[in-house]
Point group: C2
Chain length 286, copies 2
Amino acid sequence: MQTTRDIQSTRAAVAAARRTERRVGFVPTMGALHAAHLSLVKAARSECGYTVVSIFVNPTQFGPNEDFERYPRDVAADLAKCEQAGVDLVFLPPVAEMFASDAATTVHVATLTDTLCGPCRPGHFDGVTTIVTKLFNIVQPDSAYFGQKDAQQLAVIRRMVRDLDLPIEIVGCPTVREPDGLALSSRNAHLEPNERAQATSLHRALCAAREQIQGGQHDPDVVAQDMRRLIDAAGPARIDYIGVVDPESMQPIEHIAGAVLVALAVRIGQKRLIDNVLVDPSEQTS
Amino acid sequence: MQTTRDIQSTRAAVAAARRTERRVGFVPTMGALHAAHLSLVKAARSECGYTVVSIFVNPTQFGPNEDFERYPRDVAADLAKCEQAGVDLVFLPPVAEMFASDAATTVHVATLTDTLCGPCRPGHFDGVTTIVTKLFNIVQPDSAYFGQKDAQQLAVIRRMVRDLDLPIEIVGCPTVREPDGLALSSRNAHLEPNERAQATSLHRALCAAREQIQGGQHDPDVVAQDMRRLIDAAGPARIDYIGVVDPESMQPIEHIAGAVLVALAVRIGQKRLIDNVLVDPSEQTS
């Protein structure tokens, strides 16, 4: 496994690999790697002969009052996990390599960022789309792998890639969960034991929503109200949003007829957790 | 010479060429080709084994009251000129090929677009940077050629390419002028004979500014006032701006000490003309 810290060496490494390998797969991360990241690596390796992981805690996608400083970092452990997972190249740029002091360019995706996490985190998606465009231009992969857990991010990146004609296939991978349903997240490490127990209410609420919708409920407000009740019953939480939206446009659905994304963001203590499920109402209630 | 109208065939043509040619050069245009465009083609051909020209009158870089409908179009003449100039591929996409009805992504360059043409043409540079990013991602050239006549556009694109880590060399090419100094522009075709005569005042004012600065004038306001006087003396004109700015940041200079860009936009009748000179005060007055 090779490690690079600058753009030029990264390009050279990928170019050398491309001479022998057919496909280059890319998994952009902010580090603090866990089983969900490794599932993306596994997906990349199953389709590509050369797999690149980037580890970069991108300051521009954190708001001024968010957890950039507190975001978990453990490069040594991350590198060991990448090595073991069969990653070929880890790109670990310092902030100065990625952002010149007079950087002036932003990539913005409208509409899809107006809902769910967008209004709660002003500037967040511009930070994501800009850094992802940069990383795509540096690594120039054939395909890139993102988790369905960040469903809005995945939809925004798909739209951006289509709109900007980036020659990259975006692959969405299933959310990886703990046995009790909690979606894996680097931020889970910060949960206190009681918060950790309470956090299972998110997935339970999403499962209840799926059951309701597949049982014939067409009204998203009824679905959201029941979810809210279930989450509030689990303990003190601040619900940023519960949304029932179109899975591509991220726009609110008024009457549930086709597939929908049910998504939520909930603060437990200082920790903000997100999760979602894709629900096809035509599938039978299991 | 090959002509393509869709993205997929364009990519296939460039990919085929790349198997045999070392460098791909790209000249993005809005058609109505004249000698200045052909000088860009010539520069591309001198450095690259395969030259691509795009012809696309991009609606998103015209304001609602601008001349999108009236912008000159002559595809047959353009193709003949490209053929004669030794262009290998002309990409001629229809609008629907470039913009999906739900396109949501914009590339924005801040700061550099706040001056000169920026405030006069809201949204113009976002239109330019977004379409150029798309064309770059479709053609994937090694180098791309732009005229110094659109100095702010050139600076904005250079900054964008640097900030987004696009692996493309941007080559600026000298402004091509008529014997009397008027900078070539597709919009010159619309000038009435008296307006055409009056339009020479733009280049005369720029030459006077250069002489003043190289003669020791440090005050940009004095330079601009004299230019304004010279342009007004030539006939009825509306001066959108006269700017003395840093050639990279496009920010106004308060005291001329190093190289500056002197740029202007002037409306003669309904026609808006732009021009500029780069002035190094350390060069002797000729």
